[in-house]
């Protein structure tokens, strides 16, 4: 449904030019959910917005790559055609529903604009459709909610309205950028459930961007793990969670406190910090923090520092590591 190839995006910052996304490729299939996970600053949100060419300029710049939506490359489209893509073919839900809804218009007005623009609906038609859609996203008393202004709604409610808006146009691809981060766990569960439910009904392809491994595990079919502007590992959800090959993915999964892990025991951590993306990086981006590398011989360790690993196919997925991890690893090994 959506094929992204070698996407690269950079930003001008006071500290210099920053390559936020550097050669990212992935596919999304109809009716499936791709989770893009990673820690803050790894480039996952930039990737998502670049798919819609929503890069603020300045300071942002799309450096290269292709985004194929069917037979169209979104990145080479004339900018006049972009509104036809946005909302219609690809919709997006943002993390903060408050800033995504216009505070001076009622919900109905905002939904009406979408419907009028996309389908040329009259007010009556739009109203009926809006009520129906709000009901679909699980809003009780949709008639009265339509007359509400965004600030009169709770966070969960606003996110539901956002989803309703995103789905009004029956998009082929839905990008959800941290849709539940601002919400409580119980509400999060409801929203995630809603997205899944709707996806099953409409067959939309979903890209779910999140930093929460739990949410990914709960929702996604495929997962792509990003680190420092790159995808370091990708594959089916079970494969990645059960037997991650990349030391980073391993470390990430291990550092989450889990039930029954032993209370107050020391948690495995990934030491160090994400490298600065303003300076060119030689070799593997994770090399500086890699626990695996510390277990390697001098020659192999030097290779990590000098040679940039490409994504290689592995059983059930792809991994960008010269020395992928296999089997089980004890937490202490990762920490040392």
């Amino acid at each position: 449904m959506l094929r992204v190839r070698d996407l690269a995006v950079g930003f001008d910052t006071p500290a210099g030019f920053l390559r936020a996304v550097d050669g990212v490729s992935f596919d999304v299939h109809a009716g499936r959910t791709l989770g893009i996970v990673g820690e803050s600053g790894c480039g996952k949100s930039v990737t998502a917005s670049t798919v819609l060419r929503l890069v603020p300029r300045p300071p942002g710049r799309i450096l290269g790559g292709e985004v194929w939506l069917g037979e169209q490359d979104v990145l080479t489209l004339p900018s006049d055609d972009l509104p036809g893509i946005r909302g219609n073919e690809i919709s997006m839900i943002f993390q903060d529903p408050m800033t995504s809804l216009n505070p001076v218009f009622t919900v109905e007005r905002q939904l009406f604009e979408v419907l009028a623009m996309r389908f040329g609906m009259s007010r009556q038609q739009a109203h009926a459709r809006s009520v129906e859609m709000l009901r679909t996203v699980g809003i009780a008393e949709p008639e009265s909610r339509l007359r509400a202004y965004p600030h009169e709604l709770s966070g969960g409610m606003k996110q539901r309205v956002m989803i309703a808006m995103a789905l009004l146009c029956e998009p082929r691809v839905l990008i959800a950028d941290e849709p539940t981060t601002a919400l409580d766990v119980t509400i999060q569960a409801q929203i995630l459930h809603l997205i899944k439910d709707l996806q099953q009904r409409t067959g939309t392809a979903v890209i779910l961007i999140t930093h929460d491994m739990g949410v990914v595990a709960e929702t996604c079919d495929d997962v792509a793990v990003m680190y420092a502007g790159r995808i370091v590992e990708t594959g089916g959800i079970v494969e990645v969670f059960d037997s991650a090959r990349h030391p980073y993915t391993r470390g990430l999964l291990a550092s989450i406190p889990r039930r029954g892990q032993g209370r107050k025991a020391e948690l495995p951590t990934i030491e160090g910090i994400v490298p600065s993306l303003t300076a060119p990086i030689e070799g593997c981006r994770f090399a500086g923090r890699c626990w695996k590398r510390r277990t390697l011989g001098a020659a192999d360790a030097a290779r990590c520092a000098s040679e940039d690993p490409a994504l290689r196919a592995f059983a059930g997925g792809e991994v960008a590591c010269h020395f992928p991890v296999e089997g089980t690893v004890r937490p202490e090994e990762m920490t040392s």
Partner: protein
Amino acid sequence: MSDGNGAVPILQVENLKKYYPVRGGVMGRKIGDVRAVDGVSFSVREGETMGLVGESGCGKSTLARALLRLEDPTDGTVLFEGNDIATASKQDLFQLRRDLQIIFQDPYSSLNPRMTVGEIVREPLLVHGVGSKEEQVRKVRDLLETVGLSGDVIERYPHEFSGGQRQRVGIARALALEPKLVVADEPVSALDVSVQSQVLNLMMRLQKERGLTYIFVSHDLSVVEHVSDTLAIMYLGRIVEHGPVDAIYGRPAHPYTRALLEAVPVPDPKQRRVSVPLEGEAPSPVSPPAGCPFHPRCPFAIEACKAAVPALEPVGAKVVDGQAEHFAACIRQGEI
């Protein structure tokens, strides 16, 4: 409630209330109350960690701040080593503050961007006039090294640090006056998973080394379970369940606790939930429902739940020294 296993209760909270007036009109007349914290009682034993869990708006942050009298409580007592913080005089409070410190959620807004790290950590020492200038500087270096930052960073400004490092600075500041009790208000919520584990490890190490008592406020049940000894679950300004972590996680007595635990997404794709654990949203604290505040969402609610606010009652038979340890505020706790 006295000590169960030889540990002394360092903090005893009785019927603590914090109401915010709702004002209106030109001259700001009071027209109502927001009952952010509505009659909370619990105790914490020295050297232990009490987890405080709840969803946004449940009053847990307000409670944390009221404990330290960053907000003046409306009613109730907060006995710290026998001194009532809630009514302490200015001078007494000033002295008490040395023993009570707080760590904040947002490592960005909790550090003054215009002060160097050294100045930030030194401020409490300056305010309390601890030691000479040289001693203070030495102490600041020691503290920074204790939290895992090199002493050379004192000249640098917060923006030069990552979120995890900033949180370490915040911890160093909290430790500067060598407190006995530290309230950690969502200390890792804003951090990435890999960093989160680093900070949690640090906090646990400090507790061991310094015998600190923590009140650990969080909405992340996995984290709380990992670090806490006892747990209090809040809903709409009240504690609905309180007791040892194992007991609560093992056999939650309150339907809300149960739903909350179920809502947490587990980072294991093989354990996916099928249904949504809890419908609806928490009502506004301005107009809480009559009776049990949870009854509108509670799957087990009966007519009697609407009648009166249920009190915390001991759960099961486990009693230590004639005192129950596990409490829940549900009239049907035995039945479900």
